[in-house]
């Protein structure tokens, strides 16, 4: 088979937002955080993502507001660059090439133009030793600058960004590693080292985990592995330092931060409690408990009104300084394993999988946003090391319409038997979420191996089948309760099935719900759910059945199964015989709910290949070798919101639904076609243009003429190239309607213009037909502006001269703010006014 070059595997959202400490802008309106190889800008009040600063080619490892300009932000990345952004507009200003992977970086206002970066000592990513290096950023007008002025500050430091901090006014820098705290004074140019004695009592260690310095006072606060916080003072003299110990946390301190005025110290850790210590009155503490997951970072806004905490479950909580949660930004939660498979909620089309402990998360794939978490276990989560035996959601299933959700939670206990419950949730229209309907304690005698709903929409009563290691499978049905004391209908067991006391592993309903296939080790049994008769048995030894799947639509007569002995079998249910089989190590078999297509992920030589095929056709529709390294065990077909109309044969299978999969490293990936990517790019550009809207008429006038000027000078000016010209008429009408009546000319003047504006010009129509071809477009725009120039000659001249003057001066020395203003003005359309002037 040919490799299809136009279908690519791409990362699809869901990256970590808790990787590094978030940054709050000076006005407390924005929150910036590193997310994969992007930097995301969130609004602190609405929790929405405003900009996505793209440009880095590797993991972003730090975000920092430029000390000399609070509207600009630095970001560093493992790709060896530091980039400067304007985060309010989402524009990349400069790229500084460092040349070494940057693990974290620091800056203070005291050292202007100097960045302190943490890089491996040897230029090798695997190296264990890290050093702190001061980089003087060169002043240059170029977009991309190579930084060359390096000077080492400290060697052998911890790569963790929390382990290093600047002291009061940037006079010294404190860095901790292992049991040593090192303070480097810039004036004296020499480091002091403080060491702690090793203390291994009760298995806890007193190694340093984080360091922070008081902003107004000579005081360093350090957090330790054993939950203690030490305040170091008087460290300018090596022998006479003092340290105070604060102890509240019972396990490692995750993060420490002083408020900007230094009145409070914030600390957080595994307990997921934010502790606020009063500086100098440490016995007084405030707590903000139950934040959901272990605190990994704490950040404070420069004006001290907002705190924010990053949590281990990929969440950022924004907290007002009166210790009240005001907003929660939640990313996709990715635990060590996805024990419930990935599912699609039929109602919201959201991806559903394990989230926080004991929760299911609903994650919108389209918007890359976590919609909500559904609390399945409904128990207080205990944050404690070594207490792993909590209830976990292990299985979940949706019925065809999304009305019912079934979940299985289990808890492994040391001494006694496994504890597990089956819960059934009904969708409540009023609250728009799932509400617990039935809880079945210990539905089976042993672990549940599979759970599936009958996937018919017309059947009145839905049916759930659960297979268990106790050798039985049970069918559950919704029944009206006979007794008077409980209200609604609830679920009860309808049938218990078994086959030669073998253990059922997989179960699957056919698309119309008339057949149930249950695999019992090597044997597949086919049952009729209506009468619970065993219809037939299919088997293809050797090898235990690993996956089982019915064909859909025109292929519904086929049943596909994979075995542990690397066999993919397809049975014809009409003849009850094997149709075909092939030898491949299928790790995952999936059926597209909207088409006949099936996807098989095969593991081969450490890589995973994808085959898409129809059960009825011998040739695969599509195959992609080595989509990622490692085994793919979780994947899902997600239906598209609107059908893609691709006619290329190779990408037709992606028309109705997209395929998403999780790699071994829990990255959410998907397949895209070229056409799709282009469309996405186009829409991105459109969005940028739409940002700029109404202005005063004078600005419009000026701006347009300046733009024309520039167009003439530089036909390939990026802004005009990106522009998609709107029909002039509609703009004129819009502006006409928006302008207050008392500033408009008389109606008799307006009338002809208005009528004219309704006519569709030929150039517009032509242009609309080719919106994607950018060069053509810009040319046309040029023509158009020329035409306009001819009509209004006298004014044009005047403004032209004005425009040139402006441009000249702008080119010579313009402040950043002015340049931005200029850009915005350029984008505006004032053509309605010129039309008005013509008439």
């Amino acid at each position: 088979m040919v490799e299809h070059s136009d279908i690519r595997v791409v990362h699809r959202g869901g990256s970590k937002i808790n990787f590094r400490e978030p940054v709050i802008s000076t006005d407390s309106r924005f929150l910036l955080c590193a997310s994969g190889d992007h930097v995301k800008v969130f609004s602190t009040s609405t929790e929405e993502c405003i900009h996505n600063l793209q440009g880095h080619t590797d993991l972003v490892t730090g975000v920092l507001i430029k000390p000399s300009n609070h509207l600009q932000v630095y970001s560093c990345s493992l790709d060896g660059t530091v980039r400067l952004w304007d985060f309010t507009d989402g524009i990349l200003i400069k790229t500084f090439v460092i040349g070494y992977p940057v693990y974290s970086f620091y800056a203070t206002s005291n050292h202007d133009g100097v960045l302190f970066i943490v890089t491996p000592t040897v230029n090798d990513k695997r190296s264990e030793l890290f050093q702190l290096v001061a980089v003087h950023l060169p002043h240059s007008g170029d977009q991309q600058v190579e930084a060359q002025d390096f000077s080492g500050v400290l060697s052998d430091i911890s790569p963790s960004p929390a382990a290093t901090a600047f002291g009061r006014g940037g006079e010294y820098i404190a860095s901790a590693k292992g049991l040593h705290l090192e303070v480097y004074f810039f004036k004296k140019q020499k480091p002091y080292r403080f060491s702690l004695k090793e203390d291994n009592r009760k298995g806890t260690k007193n190694t340093f985990t984080c360091v922070t310095c008081h902003p107004k006072d000579d005081c360093i606060a350090t957090g330790h592995e054993d939950g203690k916080i030490r305040l170091w003072r008087n460290f300018t003299h090596k022998k006479e330092y003092t340290s105070t110990m604060l102890h509240w946390h019972h396990s490692a301190v995750g993060s420490l931060r002083f408020t900007p005025e230094g009145t409070n110290l914030l600390s957080g850790g595994l307990e997921s409690v934010l502790v606020l210590w009063r500086y100098n009155q440490e016995s007084q503490r405030d707590f903000l408990p139950r934040l959901g997951a272990a605190i990994t970072h704490i950040a404070v806004s420069p004006d001290g009104t907002l705190f924010c905490t990053s949590h281990a479950d990929n969440k950022i909580t924004i907290i007002q300084s009166c210790v009240k949660v005001s907003a929660v930004i939640q990313g996709l939660v990715k635990g060590e394993s996805v024990r419930t498979d990935m599912m699609i909620d039929p109602r919201s089309k959201a991806l559903v999988l394990n989230g926080k402990p004991g929760h299911l998360q609903f994650y919108s794939l389209q918007r890359d946003k976590l919609l909500y978490n559904l609390d399945i276990v409904q128990q207080e989560y205990i944050h404690e090391l070594g207490l792993f035996e909590q209830f976990e959601v292990v299985k979940a299933a949706f019925d065809a319409r999304g009305n019912w959700l079934a979940t299985v939670e289990e808890r492994k206990q040391k001494a006694s038997a496994l504890e597990f419950n089956l819960k059934l949730w009904v969708y409540d229209e009023k609250t728009q979420s799932f509400v617990l309907n039935t809880t079945i304690w210990a539905p089976h005698e042993a672990q549940i191996t599979a759970l599936c709903f009958c996937h018919t929409t017309d059947i009145q009563t839905t049916m759930l089948v659960s297979a268990s290691k106790d050798g039985h499978f049970k069918a559950w049905q919704l029944a009206a309760s006979t007794s008077t004391d409980d209200e609604g209908p609830c679920w009860s067991c309808d049938f218990v099935g078994a086959y030669h006391s073998l253990i059922p592993a997989r179960c699957c309903f056919s698309a119309d719900g008339s057949l149930l296939a249950v695999s019992f080790q090597e044997v597949v049994t086919v049952w009729s759910p209506a009468s619970w008769e065993l219809l037939t048995t299919l088997s293809q030894p050797p090898g235990v059945i690993r996956d089982l799947c019915f064909g859909r639509l025109s292929c519904s007569k086929y049943l596909l199964g994979t075995t542990t002995r690397n066999l993919l079998c397809c049975w014809n249910l009409l003849t009850c015989s094997l149709e075909w089989s092939t030898s491949m190590d299928v790790s995952l078999l999936l059926a597209d709910p909207l088409s006949e297509n099936m996807a098989a992920f095969c593991c081969q030589a450490g890589c995973t290949d994808l085959f898409v095929f129809k059960p009825s056709e011998p040739r695969p529709l599509f195959c992609h070798k080595a989509i990622c390294s490692g085994k793919v065990t979780h994947a899902i077909f997600a239906p598209r919101e609107d059908m893609l109309e691709s006619c290329e044969e190779s990408s037709q299978w992606l028309n109705r639904s997209q395929i998403y999969f999780l790699t071994q490293h829990m990255d959410l990936m998907m397949f895209t076609t070229k056409a799709e990517e282009e469309k996405l790019m186009a829409s991105c550009k459109q969005l940028v243009i739409d940002d700029s809207v109404a202005m005063t008429p004078f600005h419009l006038l000026l701006g347009k003429h300046r733009q024309q000027q520039q167009d003439n000078q530089d036909a390939l000016s990026s802004l005009s190239a990106e522009r998609i010209q709107l029909p002039q008429g509609s703009v004129a009408i819009k502006e006409l309607l928006q302008t207050p009546a008392h500033v408009l000319p008389s109606t008799s003047v307006l009338c002809s213009m208005f009528v004219q504006s309704l006519l569709v010009s030929i150039t517009d129509a032509r242009e609309a037909s080719k919106p994607t071809e950018e060069e053509m477009e810009s040319e046309k725009e040029e023509e158009e502006s020329e035409g306009e120039m001819e009509t209004s000659t006298s004014r044009q001249k005047a403004s032209e001269s004005l425009g040139t003057e402006e441009v000249d001066s702008a080119a010579s020395a313009l402040s950043k703010a002015q340049v931005r203003e200029l850009r915005r003005v350029k984008k505006l359309d004032y053509s309605w006014l010129s039309g008005l002037l013509d008439s």
Binding site: L288, P289, R290, L291, G292, V325, D375, Q378, Q379, E380, I382, E384, G386, L387, E389, Q390, F391, R411, Q413, A415, S416, A417, E419, W441, E445, H472, T482, S483, T484, D485, F495, V496, G497, A498, Y499, H500, W532, E533, L534
Partner: protein, 526 residues
């Protein structure tokens, strides 16, 4: 910030009978009034008109009782031998009864002497009834014949001799004056039309027919005979609809509830069963002291009257619901109290200050929230919850175990609180619902306190009791396993030997499973 999630108290399904609408309805009768008759009560018939007196046929007498009287308002004693089947006419004026001496007598309800006597049968007459035009009488006799008589001139109109055994039940149509149905010990039911000279429909019940009942619409016929109650669809030519086998002795009488939605059957097995007439499932069951021969419901189910072989007539009157409701209403606070201030709609420029909703937590949850584990356990162990709601202490123990702090909570107790704990364990350890949790707690207690055994007489005594309890439980479990083994062999031998059909086996597994679940605690205890 998420709020504290309270400990979940597991809800256990209530054992025993489920409370349904039907059980509530049929249980709402007062304690029965028992009247001793002279002999077995063979028939009870309610008068169709207002005071709804009922005629009770027992031995050689027919008593007529008023709705609330315990003494007969009227007695007919002019029978030479056992009387049978005293029935009212649809206007409640006349009463007809058969007799062992083959004479059928017609009485005026207010009179004493028979108005008419119908002679012609050669053997005992067990069946008498009025036709719907009120001028004729149907009789059925042990001489295998059934006859129609004219009341005004006491003559026999027609005679049918189609049955080949005793006719012991019969009923006339309330809608058509010519139709009647008889049931006989020859296992058949026959539908006769007086306008033709032979039966028009025959149904085979397969058992001697004891009782017949027509639905008010007269489309369905119910017959009782042997252990079976069968329902026939007359409109489909006598097609059998359902066959019910819920009694384990002969069903002797049938009756329909006032609204026609429930069917009652009385049997020699001393039970009265109530069926739902839409799905024919038993919804309720009454127990009586002796075999039931006759059964009748007053209009609107105001009372249930049952006659038994030990010549006792049992009358249950419906509880009047008015008084209780009034009492309940007095207790409730006024509606005003609840809506006070809640229905106030804010005006347009009002500033709404929302009060934070305070989460109510049980006392043990409040202590758990503060990580006071021992105190939480003590609170849950308070005597009221310990005795009335053992699931609460069990749930708290389970929660502590989940938090990994059960050992801390159980340790460091003095004699009194330890004995309290042990008492609770003795009371609930062998309960299969609580055993998995309590076994863990017991093991931890034994581990913690094994060093102080012998220091306190109270605790020692309780530990000995606990040991005895466990030994007894182990014996029980062993016996249960033996029974299980016996059942398994029984099932294995009774099942048809078929290779493919596994559904039968799997049904049986349901039973096996119950037994296996019960054996769980035994393993842990040992």
């Amino acid at each position: 910030m998420a709020s504290f999630k309270p400990t979940k108290i597991q809800v256990y399904p209530k054992l025993g009978e489920k409370v349904t609408q039907d059980t509530l309805y049929w249980k709402n009768y007062k304690a029965p009034v028992q009247i001793k008759e002279f002999g077995a009560v063979t028939n009870i018939n309610f008068s169709p008109v207002a005071p709804h007196n009922y005629a009770v046929t027992a031995f050689t007498r027919i008593h007529i009782y008023g709705p609330f009287s315990q003494e007969p308002v009227k007695t007919f004693t002019r029978f030479k031998d056992t009387a049978y089947c005293g029935r009212f006419r649809s206007d409640g004026q006349l009463l007809v009864a058969g007799c062992e001496d083959s004479v059928v007598r017609l009485f005026d309800v207010s009179g004493k002497v028979a108005l008419r006597t119908f002679k012609g049968h050669t053997k005992a007459v067990h069946v008498t009834d009025f036709t719907s035009d009120r001028y004729q009488i149907l009789t059925g006799s042990d001489d295998y014949t059934c006859r129609l008589w004219d009341i005004p001139n006491a003559t026999e109109l027609t005679s049918y001799q189609e049955h080949t055994d005793y006719i012991r039940c019969g009923i006339t149509s309330k809608l058509n004056r010519d139709l009647f149905i008889t049931g006989s010990y020859d296992h058949t039911l026959k539908l006769f039309d007086a306008r033709v000279d032979k039966s028009v429909m025959t149904m085979d019940h397969n058992q001697p027919v004891e009782s017949l009942l027509l639905y008010p619409s007269e489309g369905l016929l119910v017959s009782a005979g042997g252990r079976y109650v069968k329902v026939w669809d007359l409109l489909k030519g006598g097609q059998p609809l359902v066959s019910l086998k819920n009694h384990h002795k002969t069903v002797t009488c049938l009756c329909l509830s006032g609204n026609g939605e429930r069917l009652l059957s009385g049997s020699l097995d001393r039970h009265v069963k109530v069926y739902n007439t839409t799905n024919y499932k038993v919804v309720h069951n009454f127990d009586y002291a002796a075999s039931i021969l006759s059964l009748a419901l007053a209009p609107d189910d105001e009372s249930i009257v049952v006659g038994m072989t030990n010549s006792v007539l049992s009358i249950k009157h419906r509880r009047s619901s008015n008084t209780e409701e009034a009492a309940q209403q007095r207790r409730r606070p006024a509606y005003r109290v609840f809506v006070k201030g809640k229905n106030y709609a804010p005006k347009q420029d009002d500033y709404l200050v929302s009060k934070p909703v305070k989460q109510h937590l049980a006392k043990y949850d409040q202590q758990l929230k503060k990580f006071k584990v021992s105190k939480a356990l003590d609170t849950a162990m308070e005597s009221w919850t310990r005795f009335r709601k053992p699931e609460i202490p069990v749930a708290v123990i389970k929660e502590l175990d989940r938090r990994g702090t059960l050992k801390n909570a159980l340790a460091g107790r003095d004699e009194q609180s330890l004995s309290q704990l042990l008492n609770f364990l003795i009371g609930n350890l062998v309960d299969p619902r609580f055993a998995p949790v309590l076994v863990i707690a017991t093991e931890i207690i034994l581990d913690i306190y094994q060093s102080v055994i012998g220091q306190s007489a109270v605790v020692d005594r309780q530990l000995v009791r606990l040991q005895e309890l466990l030994e007894k439980e182990i014996d029980y479990q062993q016996e249960l396993l033996e029974v299980l083994g016996m059942l398994d062999t029984l099932f294995a031998s009774s099942l048809p030997r078929k290779e493919v059909s596994c559904s039968g086996i799997s049904r049986a597994n349901g039973l096996v499973q119950g037994g296996a679940a019960a054996s769980g605690p035994q393993l842990e205890a040992s």
